[in-house]
Amino acid sequence: MEKKTLSAKLLASPHIVWSVLFIIAPLIMVAYYSFTNADGNFTLENIKALSDYKEVFLNSIWYGIVATLICLVIAYPTAYFIARSKARVQSTMIMLVMLPMWTSLIVRTYSIMSLIENTGIINSFIQKLGFEPIQMINTSGAVILGMVYDFLPFMILPIYSVLTKLDNKLVEAAHDLGADKITVLTKVVLPLSRSGILSGITMVFVPSVSTFYISQKLGGGNFALVGEIIEGQFVTSNNFNLGASLSLVLMVLILICMAVMNHFSGDEEESSGGLMP
């Protein structure tokens, strides 16, 4: 018996070797490149250069927060209504939420682009009505729209999966004890769906902060976000070391944001209600 479990455990070893080689070692490489120059000598230049990018980082986080909040406001009622609909319809509705999620981000970003372009469908419609075309693409609004559109399903799904498991008896009990609809929502439903809200926030915030194609395609390079700067270091200016230090900071910043969020939403039940406007 002992021998059998040992050999079974050994089955995990190729995976462990793989993880060390291709998950841990690459992360060490990011740190190594951050602290060396092109010749491989130790330097703090890349870290010092980061101060030039303070605004870029703040900008990215700000865009990420705005997009995440908009997603949350749209997604919570959506998930709530889906969870309350008939069981037969529910699985279809959820599949319709998942489908865009599984379609390439490039395709989705591209479909938004084709709508709001200067010669796109919305503007040609506006012109047909006899108005001046509106500049929509290459604005900050377009970047936010792209983020919301691309990542909205990532917010709906986790909230839905928590809400659908919610015990309806709790809601009924609250009603029986005299709570009105709003009180039930803020005191029972929202606190119980906190874990879904939190994972939704993570799943929208992380890709929004680090995206490069959304700001490239919809912002026209006017709104430099950190993802775009990093991509530039690797693809056009070939400065791997600066790119590595920017990624290192991005990784740390996201970790800090997540920790702050978990801290503020973890201590009191009331505070998760505060996430909803």
Partner: protein, 272 residues
């Protein structure tokens, strides 16, 4: 918590689905446009699809994408299933959570960080080995296996938990070797998890843009990368056609997963 919906919630849901699908529908409609315009429909035609079929770069990208998806999802499924069986047997809590946390890193990290960290590893090791161009098919496959692995492990592990461990012991009491009992008892009962993991791995690999973008090198374009480079030129409906095709492939794959899950649920109910 299912109850009857009122009208306003139906309208709200309608608007959200409209928001999610209107851009994609526009894209699909204009992929059948006769002219190059992406805002005025002048006539129905398949000509952009025909043009796609004649575009050698695109065809090549499709082949590359499929090849990489098949290889990496098969490798990840084997590696991941073996890993899940091993992890399931581990009783050391710390070792177990250390392995799981490491496995989950590619899922938690921003994709761009995963992409560039692998790129740096490949750049560094090629410098060590004195190879000039390190990026290519092998780096794409390594990267894809790495980021789809957690999804395979996470879909196989729960099936192993649900499994009745007395069954494999019974098989061995009845004279099966451990290996035989694994293939005759364990493998069939975790098969649905393995299949779900495989299809997820396959789909994620097909779909990936960000990570592939950094590790692909100039010679190996995948479909999402091809699409990305196509958007650099003036907007033309052939990209719409390509996007439409990708959309429908994903639709079919997703329906397949749903169907398999529904069948699995039904079987579970029957067993009860």
């Amino acid at each position: 918590m299912s109850r009857k919906m009122n009208v306003s919630s139906k309208i709200y849901l309608g608007l959200v689905y409209f928001f999610l699908y209107a851009p994609i529908v526009v894209l699909i409609v204009f992929s059948f446009n006769e002219s190059t315009s992406t805002s005025v429909m002048s006539g129905f035609s398949f000509k952009w699809y025909g043009e796609l079929l004649r575009d050698a770069d695109t065809i090549n990208a499709v082949k590359n994408t499929l090849f990489i998806a098949v290889i990496s999802s098969v490798c990840a499924t084997i590696l991941g299933t073996a890993a899940a069986v091993g992890i399931d047997k581990m009783r050391n809590k710390y070792l177990r959570s250390a392995i799981m946390n490491t496995t989950n890193i590619p899922m938690m990290n921003p994709e761009i960080v995963t992409g560039i960290s692998l790129l740096l590893l490949f750049a560094f090791s090629s410098q060590l080995l004195g190879i000039k161009n390190a990026l290519g098919l092998h780096t794409l496959i390594i990267a894809h296996i790495t980021f789809v692995l957690p999804y395979v492990i996470l879909s196989v592990l729960p099936k192993l938990h649900q499994m009745d461990h007395h069954l494999s012991e019974a098989a061995m009491d009845l004279g099966c070797t451990p290996v035989k009992s694994f293939f005759k008892v364990v493998l069939p009962s975790i098969m649905p998890g393995i299949l779900t993991g495989f299809i997820m791995a396959f789909t994620l690999s097909l779909d990936d843009f960000v990570i592939s973008y950094f590790v692909s090198g100039p010679e190996w374009q995948t479909l999402p990368i091809r699409l990305f480079s196509m958007t650099k030129k003036r907007v033309k409906p052939d990209m719409y056609a390509l996007s439409t095709l990708i959309f429908f492939v994903m639709l079919v794959l997703l329906m397949l997963i749903n169907f398999m899950q529904a069948r699995g649920d039904k079987k579970k109910e029957k067993d009860k």
